[in-house]
């Protein structure tokens, strides 16, 4: 095995005038669980379809295991796909669906039977081998689609929003199952999703896409804690944006307050600060705040109860109130609307992002 599992270099896909994917460079390692995350229409599915061979790049090079794919048709690529709609063959049984790929590769019938039964055991569907897809529940269909791809032991498994059609509970348990499975079989997974939580919980690395561009690639922690752009910051989780102006090792807010946050932007240039609500803490006016923390005085303008937490809107004299999240624990004080409070945070939790 040579090179990365999948390597995209300058891959561009245009449909007529529309650029669906714009010069993407991306390297995915062997055994990695990689997620492509983005809103619908961002080009993530097109990227996946180019890897699968359903579409061909307009420009750029696409390698799998170091081999240039060129115009190789899907049936001759060492990858398999789990479709969003599952695309199970409705006229075949579960067994025949799973056996399809092996039969097309002309494997002996004994080996086909062995491998199909083994993979059906893995997804706990051995009992339903003779059922038709229409007789299965959504979760079962999803597992058949997975089994049908995995039985071929591909180098890379491509998954296009495979959990999108399932309800919340099932989706959450399938996330765990999928992650376990991937670790067990050690196959590279490329997982397309618009669900940030799915991407965060399952992936080794995430690539965030928007409008055909790959904006940021990193571990879930990097993506969440250190977003480099406004889009990435707002697409994943809740976020406060504060407009400011760089001023020699610190930034000045619209309210005139200076904060000790350094940027690499030249003085006088406009910057955006991004702050996660759970990084903000509320204190009484007379309470001491932790050393080195930034503080802004304000007034609670709204409180929302979420069961495990409270969300506060705190007016600190800026155009937009700051949103702060506080755990619902006995030792955390609950503030009333109208009450004055200090908003404090560790300057290290502040991200300066580009637009």
């Amino acid at each position: 095995m040579s090179g990365a599992a999948v390597e995209l270099a300058g891959v561009t896909k245009r449909f007529g005038e529309v650029t669906a994917v714009d010069a993407i460079d991306l390297t995915i390692g062997h055994g990695e669980f990689f997620s492509l995350l983005g809103p619908s229409g961002c080009g993530k599915t097109t990227t996946l379809r180019m890897i699968a061979g359903f579409e061909h790049p307009t420009e750029g090079s696409l390698r799998i295991n170091g081999e240039e794919m060129g115009l190789l048709p899907p049936n001759r690529r060492p990858v398999n796909t789990v479709f969003q709609s599952y695309a199970l063959f409705p006229h075949m049984t579960v067994y025949d669906n799973v056996a399809f790929g092996l039969q097309m590769r002309k494997l002996g019938s004994n080996e086909v039977a062995q491998r199909v039964e083994r993979v059906l055991d893995q997804v706990q569907l051995r009992q339903r081998a003779d059922a038709r897809p229409s007789q299965l529940s959504g979760g079962q269909r999803q597992r058949v689609a997975l089994a049908r791809a995995l039985v071929n032991e591909p180098e890379v498994l491509l998954l296009d929003e495979p959990l999108g059609a399932l309800d919340l509970k099932l989706r959450q348990s399938m996330q765990v199952e999928l992650k376990d499975l991937q670790e067990r079989v050690g196959i590279t997974f490329i997982y397309v999703t618009h669900d940030q939580e799915e991407a965060l919980t399952m992936s080794d690395r995430i690539g965030v896409m928007d409008a055909g561009n790959l904006l940021q690639v990193g571990t879930p922690e990097e993506i969440y804690e250190r977003p480099t752009s406004r889009f990435v910051a707002s697409f994943i989780g809740d976020i406060n944006f504060i407009d400011a102006v760089a001023a020699g090792g610190s930034v000045r807010l619209a309210s005139g307050v200076e904060l000790p946050i350094s940027t690499d932007q030249p003085d006088g240039s406009e910057v955006t600060l991004a702050l996660r609500p759970e990084r903000l803490e509320l204190f009484d006016l007379d309470e001491p705040i932790p050393d080195g923390h930034i503080r802004l005085n304000g007034k609670v303008s709204r409180r929302m109860y979420y069961g495990d937490s409270y969300f506060y809107d705190v007016d600190v004299g800026l155009p937009e109130p700051l949103e702060a999240r506080e755990e619902n624990r006995p030792d955390v004080e609950v503030y009333e609307v109208g009450e004055e409070a200090i908003v404090a945070w560790d300057p290290a939790a502040t991200n300066v992002v580009t637009d």
């Binding site: 061909h56 790049p57 307009t58 420009e59 750029g60 090079s61 060129g70 115009l71």
Partner: protein, 288 residues
């Protein structure tokens, strides 16, 4: 870039494959449909010799001039009125019928629908003949009428017999699109109308009827077009006189032997149908 060429090559290969798959059918249709169509158009400019043969020379507009003369115009108008009457009668009888089926439970509905399908799929010629048999002066209706002390039925070979035959033959074409439109309708809209103080009649007039309009348009076009060109029904039930468009054209070929004139008539009828069909597709008939 090299890759761009590859993509273009892949697309060209797929296009070529798609074209080649359909090629036998396209060649067939060009040979046995497009070329014949062209020949008819050419014939409409040819000359009829005194012996009734057609000379493919001395190209002229005589046949077309005749299409717009009085006698054919009467045939056009007669056929148009007959087709319009057929369409209206079909609509009047089919709407309540389709509505009735569409408001039954799904099980009853599919049974009632099969009962529509059986005559629909039965041989049209035979059905028309059955109507002739029923309406004939020696037929069962006449005999019953005479047993009751009345006159024998004298409907056959009148315009009324043709009209009955056309309605009988084409009514399924009206019922099915109407049914499809009504069946597909979201009945909670009617509930919403009732909720907003509409009475049963108002709810029907303001909600059901407008929503079923695509079915009305589709059904009307589907009945009007074939009724306009009808040949078998007038021939069997009307006795061929006075002539309607269909038999008038046939007459030019098999009896009068005026092929140029017959060709010009055929082309005109086709153009009328083409326009009606385009109108139908414009009105969303494709959703049928």
């Amino acid at each position: 870039m090299v890759m761009a060429d590859l993509e273009a090559r892949a697309e060209r290969a797929a296009s070529r494959r798609g074209f080649l798959i359909g090629l036998p059918a396209y060649v067939y249709l060009i040979l046995f449909f497009a070329i014949p169509l062209l020949i008819v158009a050419v014939y409409s400019f040819a000359t009829r010799t005194s012996t009734g043969a057609t000379a493919l020379s001395d190209w002229n507009l005589d046949a077309w001039a005749r299409v717009f003369s009085a006698a054919p115009a009467r045939v056009f108008v007669r056929s148009f009125l007959l087709a319009a009457a057929t369409t209206v009668l079909c609509l009047v009888f089919s709407y309540p019928f389709a509505y009735w089926i569409a408001t039954r439970s799904p099980k009853v509905r599919s049974l009632l629908l099969v009962l529509v399908m059986i005559p629909f799929w039965s041989n049209f010629l035979v059905r028309t003949y059955a109507m002739k048999f029923l309406l004939g002066s020696e037929g069962p209706l006449s005999i019953i009428s005479q047993l009751l002390g009345g006159e024998p039925v004298r409907l056959l070979f009148t315009v009324w017999a043709v009209l009955i035959g056309l309605v009988y033959g084409y009514m399924p074409f009206m019922i099915l699109p109407l049914y499809a439109a009504l069946e597909r309708m979201d009945w909670s809209l009617v509930e919403a109308a009732r909720d907003l103080y509409a009475g049963g009649w108002d709810a029907f007039r303001k909600v059901t009827l407008p929503l079923s309009m695509p079915g009305v348009v589709a059904g009307s076009v589907l009945v009007f077009i074939p009724a306009l060109g009808a040949y078998v029904v007038p021939a069997i039930l009307g006795g061929g006189s006075p002539p309607y468009l269909g038999d008038y054209i046939v007459l030019q070929f098999l009896t009068a032997r005026n092929w140029p004139f017959g060709s010009a008539l055929s082309v005109s009828v086709m153009l009328i149908m083409l326009i009606a069909t385009i109108f139908y597709f414009r009105r969303g008939g494709r959703t049928l």
